[in-house]
């Protein structure tokens, strides 16, 4: 299990759990970041990371993104 910010652009993963406080958990869960969801990294320029989840593109700051723990599932590139 690694943190989402360790993934590279184009890599896919499955969300294992959300760590951190209730505020982060709440925000992330209402955006669809919950256990079992598949995600893909669309862009990581060093700032916020653009993540594909469901059919959405969501830009998450690194602090928030680091709270999403995932297991890697391969890459497009």
């Amino acid at each position: 299990m690694i943190s989402l910010i360790e993934l590279k652009t184009g890599e896919k993963a499955c969300i294992e759990k959300i760590i951190g406080g209730r505020r982060a958990k709440n925000r992330l869960s209402s955006l669809g970041f919950v256990r079992g969801k598949n995600i893909k990294i669309f862009r990581d320029n060093g700032g916020p990371i653009i993540i594909g989840i469901n059919d959405d593109r969501i830009a998450l700051g690194r602090g928030m993104a680091s709270k999403v723990m995932v297991s890697q599932k391969g890459s497009d590139k």
């Binding site: 925000r27 209402s30 919950v34 256990r35 320029n45 059919d55 593109r57 969501i58 830009a59």
Partner: protein
């Protein structure tokens, strides 16, 4: 059983709630035909808006709530939405759902259902979902959730009638006990809490099951709410009960509840949705994003778009300004002549021609620039680019101690600081919001432009463009400096996270762009029509008092005021009472500076240029323009800051710091210029 106590009686009143980017505001416009802000920009509806819809000749009041992902209290948007929803001041809530994004949108819907809100689910953007191969069985979904479900395509006006019909039919809808099974462990605690609440004096308005779930989630807001409802003793007991049980659980209750909710949603989706084909991942939006959010291209593209925005605004706007000036000049002459012919007393003629017509004209003159700027911003917002720009700018803005989203209020501020300050509401973090508000007046709004144009025209005939441009840059530079100063000294430590949905790019619809633009423009016109008009009248009166004094002379009240404070501005290069009085009135509205100068030099439009050339050298003029740019913002802006921050502290701080900053900057410009012998 409706669990929220509805206070509303009489006319049918409905509220629109839902996630950002669900097309909620578009639907609101379709329902009400009201002029509304619609933006493809998450969180664009920053306050609740009210309109009227008609069905069978009966009016329905429609409240548009801010789009939110949840009902926490993380940003003002969410608080506004939550407070309204818990108030029960409505008959029915329409939860607007983006059909292509059912699971996240349903997460919001089930939160409402658990609270006991009587709900109709509106599956909006049904066409986009179908195009993506998502087929939703509405009847099944309605059965699963136990609420009516309607399909709409708000953008095309489809399904609006049947939505209204369903709304009227279900006006007395009472959602029967909606339940998600949280599993034996949690359910037994829920029941235990409910039975304890049953014995308490908790009011009927609060859904006990919902309260129990929130207690188990350890939601601080439910504590606050229950403090007013039940004894401290009981609340403490309930808290301990939850804490004790949670110790024995390997997973936190909060996690269990969130996961169960999504399990419930997954289950509903499995039963009601069929996917015709695999989702096509390589979408056009992503291709555009590959370029627009590119590490190296992102910022140049952003800067190019900003440049294009100003080019568009001023290239197209400036010729129009001439027409408006000519128009008001002609009206003034015509009315003056007319009044003269009918033998009106000269004081009345002067009041109407010099006071009212000139005054209103001086404000409306830069309406073309405002309209064009807000039109451009509306296109950026509706197309979806604004969200990308926030993403691209986040790194730079973070270095300044701000947030990627903070640049939106800054851009809007170039049009008018009032909507600029209001746009800070979408910022989640109080610190970001306050700092963004404090620096917003440094964005040179279009009200300052006439001042620059008049001065630059008179004293910098050959390089007026560069002079005006340099003032905009000066404002941005000072905003950047002040943002880091405020962050360093006043708001150390607080950090916020970037979180933003990037909606798919859409071709903006002409209608929504115009509605969107008009909203901001009308706010400006309203301000022009009220504050500025009264100021113009006030100036005219002060210039005529005490009775018998020569209009706007040094002996008039306006002249005496000016003389009193003029010495403050002497080291800045403009110590005349005329300049001082114009600055006093400029606080009422910045564009008034030009009008006041026109009055105190008792000259018409054309004569002001000559008067300025006679009274200012280029250096002093530049120092004066910098002063107008920076010093105390107009009353309307200060009033907005007061209402946005809900305290007098921030408008007072803004007014004071900007005055001091303006004085220092103008002082440096003038004194250094003198030393170097530039522009004397």
């Amino acid at each position: 059983m409706a669990l929220l106590n509805k206070k509303n009686s009489g006319n049918l009143k409905i509220a629109l709630a839902g996630n950002p980017n669900s097309g909620k505001t578009t639907l609101f416009n379709e329902l009400t035909g009201s002029r509304q802000h619609v933006g493809n920009w998450p969180g664009v509806t920053v306050e609740k808006k009210v309109g009227k819809a008609f069905y069978n000749n009966k009016s329905i009041e429609v409240v548009d709530l801010p789009g939110t992902y949840s009902l926490g209290a993380y940003s003002e948007d969410e608080i506004v939405a939550r407070d309204f929803l818990t108030s029960g001041d409505y008959d029915l809530v329409l939860d607007i759902i983006n059909s292509s994004n059912l699971d996240r949108n349903l997460f919001f819907a089930i939160q409402l259902l658990e609270m006991g809100v009587d709900l109709i689910a509106v599956l909006n953007m049904a066409d986009e979902a179908k195009k993506k191969g998502i087929d939703i069985n509405i009847n099944k979904l309605s059965a699963e959730l136990g609420i009516p479900v309607v399909e709409t395509v708000a953008k095309k006006g489809e399904g609006i009638d049947s939505l209204l019909k369903k709304t009227v039919e279900n006006k007395d809808l009472e959602v029967s006990d909606f339940k998600i099974d949280y599993g034996n462990k949690i359910e037994s605690i829920i029941n235990e809490i409910i039975s304890k609440l049953d014995d308490s004096r908790i009011s009927k308005n609060i859904n006990k099951r919902w309260a129990a779930i929130k207690l188990i989630e350890k939601d601080p807001e439910i504590y606050e709410r229950l403090e007013k409802e039940i004894s401290n003793n009981l609340l403490k007991k309930l808290k301990t009960l939850v804490a004790k049980k949670e110790l024995k659980s390997e997973n936190s209750f909060e996690n269990i509840i969130i996961n169960k909710k999504y399990e419930f949603i997954d289950n509903v989706i499995e039963k009601t949705v069929t996917y015709r084909e695999k989702k096509n991942e390589d979408k056009l939006s992503d291709k555009i994003d590959n370029v627009v959010t590119n590490k190296y291209l992102g910022i140049p593209i952003f800067l190019f778009i900003m440049w294009a925005m100003f080019k568009f605004t001023f290239t197209l706007g400036d010729p129009l300004i001439g027409y408006i000036e000519a128009f008001f000049g002609a009206i003034g002459d015509w009315v003056g002549q007319l009044l003269l012919n009918i033998g009106a007393p000269s004081i009345i003629t002067s009041f109407i021609a010099d006071g009212i017509i000139d005054g209103v004209g001086s404000v409306l003159v830069f309406l073309p620039n405002i309209v064009l700027l807000f039109l451009f911003i509306a296109v950026l917002e509706d197309s979806g680019y604004m969200a990308r720009a926030a993403y691209v700018m986040d790194k730079i803005m973070t270095k300044l101690g701000l947030h990627g989203k903070s640049f939106i209020p800054m851009v809007i501020g170039f049009g008018c600081n009032v909507p600029g300050v209001m746009a800070t509401r979408t910022l989640d973090n109080k610190k970001d919001k306050i700092v963004s508000i404090l620096i917003n007046p440094l964005m040179s709004c279009s009200a300052r432009l006439p001042v620059y144009i008049v001065f630059a025209g008179a004293l910098f005939p050959n390089n007026g463009g560069i002079v005006v441009f340099s003032l905009y840059l000066l404002g941005i530079l000072l905003a950047v400096i002040m943002a880091s100063v405020f962050n360093k000294f006043f708001f150390d430590g607080e950090k916020s996270d970037f979180l933003m949905e990037l909606p798919p790019y859409r071709v903006p619809s002409v209608k929504s762009v115009f509605i969107h633009m008009w909203e901001k423009v009308s706010a400006f016109i309203k301000k022009a029509g009220t504050i500025i008009f009264s100021v113009v009248v006030l100036i005219w009166v002060l210039a005529n008092l005490p009775v018998g004094v020569e209009y706007a002379s040094a002996q008039s009240l306006i002249g005496r005021f000016g003389q009193l404070i003029a010495p403050i501005f002497k080291p800045l290069g403009f110590g005349s009472w005329q300049a001082a009085s114009s600055l006093i009135f400029g606080i009422l509205a910045k564009e008034v500076v030009v009008g006041t100068l026109g009055v105190v030099y008792s000259l018409g439009e054309g004569g002001l240029r000559t008067a300025l050339t006679a009274n200012f050298n280029p250096l002093a003029a530049y120092s004066f323009m910098a002063m107008v740019l920076i010093y105390t913002p107009c009353i309307a802006t200060l009033g907005t800051i007061k209402s946005e921050t809900n305290s007098w502290k921030w408008p007072i701080i803004t007014a004071a710091y900007l005055f001091v900053l303006a004085w220092i900057v103008s002082f440096l410009i003038y004194q250094i210029g003198m030393l170097l012998g530039i522009g004397i």
